[in-house]
């Protein structure tokens, strides 16, 4: 019953992330370069359920990202799988729940995710990523601010419990 509940929660979380992503794209596709909604979902579930869940959900979210782009399928998947795993792992080792630490943590995870994705993209395609006029370089900052707000709201609502 608990496993079933977990699966439902994960599916709903991913669908919600996809809905937010679709809404952002309706406003402007450059906004999706700024806020990595899927990564926030991955971090949230990694904090809540641990590194293995984080890696699985990272893989699913990354592959969704890849299926909606005309590129090699699996590039974003690998970077998000790694980030999902390490988010869950480090959340157990260090206390990342104070707001400032949480901000730094999401900023770091988002920056590393972007770096891995950009490196893999450049390796596979032999070309640089689309930066949207430099917008993408603000992704760690914007994702950290947005992620901090979302995760702290969920902690306040007692949806997410601190370890």
């Amino acid at each position: 019953m608990s496993v079933f509940r977990d699966i439902v929660e994960v599916v709903l979380g991913i669908i919600l992330a996809f809905i937010i992503y679709s809404l952002l794209i309706k406003i402007s596709f450059k906004i999706t370069l700024l806020f990595n909604v899927f990564l926030i979902t991955v971090i949230y579930f990694a904090l809540k359920k641990g590194e293995v869940y984080g890696a699985f959900i990272g893989m699913i979210c990354g592959l969704i990202h890849d299926s909606f782009s005309i590129e090699v399928f699996g590039v974003a998947g690998i970077s998000m799988t790694l980030m999902g795993y390490f988010s869950g792992y480090f959340a157990k080792k260090i206390n990342i729940y104070p707001p400032l630490r949480m901000f730094v943590f999401i900023f770091f995870v988002s920056g590393v995710n972007l770096s891995i994705w950009a490196a893999m993209y450049s390796f596979v395609f032999s070309e640089n990523i689309y930066t949207g006029g430099g917008t993408i370089f603000f992704q760690p900052l914007a994702t950290a601010v947005f992620g901090l707000m979302v995760i702290h709201t969920l902690i306040e609502l007692k949806v997410l419990k601190k370890y």
């Binding site: 299926s67 909606f68 005309i70 699996g74």
Partner: protein, 278 residues
């Protein structure tokens, strides 16, 4: 004793997941540009969500619009927009037909089917890594969409072509601004031919124009010439914005698309293939 075992198990799972995705990547090599079944499945599961969101936004926006504007004016406006949409497409196709065919009978035959050959569509999603590469539309296999159908914007300017994956109700369009796209073109009124491909930043480059070819100028119109067998000849694509003379064999020509790729919304899919059309 328990903890290291669990830790190793977790790392093993991570390694399996990474390997699985590396296999997915390597499986795409023999497929070329064709998406794998796995990719098609994920696209098929999530694209209807985008479709529904688009429908909801459209519905809510329509309710608001109807509320604040007079009902009759709104109705008339919708009708006129619809008419304008088809007239723009028709105008573009008529020009194209008249340019390319001198047999009146053939023209009449083709004109009779114009409306039937267009499928109006709306953009419901954009490429997740670069919005200038591809978009997703709310029309799919059930609407008669097939691979390589040509897509025009609301003014009849070339936007791109249908590529895989195509689900029942959604399909992906490769835009002309994608770096991997290729459209055979010529400069209107001049014997200068080349290939247009995108730069991934919203503009295009006209490649393989020899430095010894006839002179080209800023503002010259670029149209398709149909040599690649996908795009029908005569479709207007853009105009030349910059010509750089270099010491190389080919000229460096930049082209700005007529279509506003960034703000694409209403589109028209040409239901017929280039070969059938001409």
């Amino acid at each position: 004793m328990h903890l290291p075992l669990k830790k190793n198990k977790n790392i093993a799972i991570l390694v399996i997941l990474i390997l699985f995705q590396l296999i997915l990547i390597s499986l795409q090599v023999p497929l070329g540009n064709e998406p794998s079944i796995f990719e098609k499945t994920i696209f098929g599961i999530f694209s209807p969500i985008g479709h529904t969101i688009n429908f909801l936004i459209e519905s809510v926006s329509n309710v608001c619009k109807n509320y604040i504007s007079l009902h009759s004016a709104q109705k008339e406006n919708v009708e006129l927009r619809k008419k304008l949409f088809f007239l723009s497409q028709e105008n573009s196709l008529l020009k194209m037909l008249l340019d390319k065919s001198d047999e009146e009978r053939k023209i009449r035959e083709l004109l009779g089917n114009e409306y039937e050959n267009l499928i109006p569509a709306r953009v419901i999603g954009r490429d997740a890594s670069n919005g200038y590469r591809s978009v997703v539309i709310n029309r799919g296999a059930l609407d008669g969409i097939k691979k390589d159908f040509v897509v025009l914007d609301k003014n009849g300017f070339l936007v791109g072509r249908i590529v895989e994956p195509i689900t029942f109700r959604e399909a992906r369009i490769q835009l002309i601004t994608d770096e991997k796209s290729g459209v055979a073109v010529e400069i209107m009124g001049k014997e200068v031919k080349g290939i247009i491909s995108g730069d991934g930043k919203g503009t295009c480059q006209m490649k393989f124009v020899l430095s010894t070819d006839m002179e080209v100028n800023q503002g010259d119109k670029v149209v398709t010439n149909g040599v690649e067998g996908i795009y029908p000849p005569g479709l207007e694509l853009g105009y030349i914005s910059e010509v750089n003379v270099s010491s190389s064999l080919f000229r460096d020509i930049r082209v700005i698309t007529f279509s506003d790729i960034k703000g694409l919304d209403h589109l028209a899919v040409m239901k017929i293939m280039a070969k059938e059309f001409f």
